[in-house]
Amino acid sequence: MEAELTKQTNRITHVFTKKSTGLLNVYFTAGFPNLDDTVTVLEGLEKAGADLVEIGMPYSDPVADGETIQQSNMQALENGMTLKTLFEQLADCRSRVSVPILLMGYVNPVLQFGVEAFCQKCQEVGVDGVILPDLPLDLYLDEYEPIFQQYGILNIFLITPQTSDDRIRLIDEHSEGFIYMVSSASITGSTSGVSEQMLAYFDRINAMNLRNPRLIGFGIKDNETFQMANQYANGAIIGSAFIRLLQENGADGNEIAGFVRTIKG
């Protein structure tokens, strides 16, 4: 009953009921470029009109990420960022922002923190969902799904052009919020354009009539790629391009607003 209630009020689920197209989810690394920039960037993104925000939990060995996000992770760790510090920074963020917040990262720091303690903290500070690319689906189903549900934290799964239809159905069944569609076989920050193969994959997924909305990520870097994603899904996720902006200009509200405006067009 309680889980049902939190699920209904989850900000991620809610944002997809308000809006079915053109959703922009922006990724940035916590504690980057400076340790105390996390909430500044978060607020900047909400003001700029981002529909969802994905905060990266920095990790020493981010295997699914390209050079840009790797560098931001290393910088954040050098700045002293930890999961504990991140939760402290986010402690009163819900008095300032209402945008849905996801935490994205790798499973080891979460395991060290403790999965239940992590979910509890997420609920406490107002995080709505989590993306852990290296948390295996079967392990999640066997051990962690009830914990995530108990605290009303949505676990977002990835699918790729190589994911089989059966597996996509299974992921759809166990997903809430949205499904993260990785646009091509690549790590983040890839620069390859839109291929016929990619469009065929988007069409294939559309034809499956999944119950969850979908956001396309990896390779989204400007208005053109964002619009393309909107044609095939409910919106897109942008990461490396935004990290480059932060790297060059710091956590500047005007720059962030200009970036989001350019992407959304």
């Binding site: 990790y59 020493s60 060995d61 981010p62 295997v63 699914a64 390209g66 050079e67 790797q70 290393m74 760790l77 930890t82 999961l83 504990k84 790798y106 499973v107 080891n108 720091p109 979460v110 395991l111 060290q112 923190f113 690319p133 290296d134 948390l135 295996p136 079967d138 392990l139 799964f157 990835l158 699918i159 790729t160 190589q162 994911t163 089989s164 597996r167 990785v182 076989a185 690549s186 790590i187 890839s190």
Partner: protein, 398 residues
């Protein structure tokens, strides 16, 4: 000593676990690649034509069986009967080639055109470049930038064999980061590329597949020891452990023989508590790295710690999940060997037996005086590699 429950198994479970270690903690981008391998590796390896081809190459190309040599002068010095399993006499100078031969035959049966690999000391990179040249497949090897400097001869060997050697410039610029880069390469090239992991690490089925290919080491030890002593089982099998592939191979056929103690030598670097060490079981705790849950050197926040060892092949912050289970269950004895102890053991073997061991291997030899051996004990040391590549390091101690 921990008493084992009789039912303790050291074989991998259906889900890829050894006790509480193992599994496949991989991003979805890698799932199809790893799943394709998982579904096929056992059937491929069981196929008689595969076995015929694999065995023929081990004999005619690698030079197996490698000798089991009674090291008499070392035995006198240590005060026990010491046999050396001469993996250093394998083609390319280390046991690594047993695995690369096996995996490239698997890759060919999966119709892969390109091979990617990581390497620490360069031995696995050389062994991979070698079999790629033999089979005519493209070969890309990731190697930490720092390791490329300290193992320059192996970089040149790989290039001479036609491989592209790519420096890993992220993180600590050593084996861990080379492995990250190789995994990223595989994510970017999921269909036509096979990733030849060089140790019993990585997501299931890699630890099991690599252990099976390396198990030829203990298969031969059993036969050779029986011929020489009338007994298949020694009292101890000793091997060095970075990721742990030579140890997995040397232990494999003895895992379920409780009378055989399995001894693993880890690199303590400048000392376990010095902050410059790679003694994983002494310093680590359970965590996830490179696709498997294992024992891992890490901070309280779960960030992977940068290890240190004088030996480029042992400075890895984790160990294979099988070894984590051997440690956890008490089946294995783990010793932490400091740089200086390894160097001394390397010189000792060179002078007593005329064999210059790899510095990795020297760590295993350095465990011998710490084991409280009895005169009646029969010990097999896996002499995993030869030391030519380490002369620049050894020469500083001449």
């Amino acid at each position: 000593m921990t008493v084992l429950e009789p039912k303790t198994s050291f074989e991998v479970s259906n889900k890829g676990f050894y006790g509480r270690f193992g599994g496949a903690f991989i991003p979805e981008m890698l799932y199809p690649n790893v799943e394709e391998l998982r579904q096929n590796y056992l059937a491929i390896m069981a196929d008689p034509t595969f076995q015929t081809e694999f065995r023929a190459l081990l004999t005619d190309y690698v030079g197996r069986p490698t000798p089991l040599f009674l090291a008499e002068r070392l035995s006198n010095e240590i005060g026990a009967t010491i046999y050396l399993k001469r993996e250093d006499l394998c083609h390319t100078g280390a046991h690594k080639v047993n695995n690369t031969i096996g995996q490239i035959l698997v890759a060919k049966r999966l119709n892969k055109q390109r091979i990617v690999a990581e390497t620490g000391a360069g031995q696995h990179g050389v062994a991979t470049a070698t079999v790629c040249a033999l089979m005519g497949l493209e070969c890309i090897v990731y190697m930490g930038e720092i390791d490329m400097e300290r193992q320059q001869p192996n970089v040149d060997r790989m290039r001479m064999l036609g491989a592209t050697v790519v420096p890993a410039k992220s993180g600590s610029k050593t084996l861990k980061d080379a492995t990250n880069e190789a995994m990223r390469h595989w994510i970017n090239n999921p269909v036509d590329t096979h990733y030849i992991i060089g140790s019993v690490v990585g997501p299931h089925p890699y630890p099991d597949m690599v252990a099976r290919f390396q198990s030829v080491i203990s298969e031969e030890i059993r036969t050779q020891l029986l011929e020489k002593t009338g007994h298949e089982n020694p009292d101890y099998v000793v091997a060095c452990v970075g990721g742990g592939s030579n140890a997995a191979g040397a232990f494999f056929h003895y895992l379920h023989e409780p009378s055989v103690r399995l001894v693993a030598a880890e690199a303590a670097g400048l000392g376990v508590s010095s902050g410059h060490s790679a003694a994983t079981t002494a310093l680590g705790k359970p965590g996830v790295l490179h696709g498997s849950r294992t024992i891992l050197m890490q901070t309280d926040d779960g960030q992977v710690t940068e290890p240190y060892s004088i030996s480029a092949g042992l400075d890895y912050p984790g160990i294979g999940p099988l070894h984590a289970h051997l440690f956890d269950s008490g089946r294995g004895d783990f010793y932490a060997i400091e740089d200086d102890e390894a160097i001394r053991a390397g010189f000792q073997l060179s002078k007593l037996e005329g064999i210059i061991p790899a510095i990795e291997t020297a760590h295993a030899l350095a465990a011998l005086p710490k084991m409280n051996l009895q005169a009646s004990d029969v010990v097999v040391v896996c002499l995993s590699g030869r030391g030519d590549k380490d002369l620049a390091t050894y020469s500083k101690y001449l």
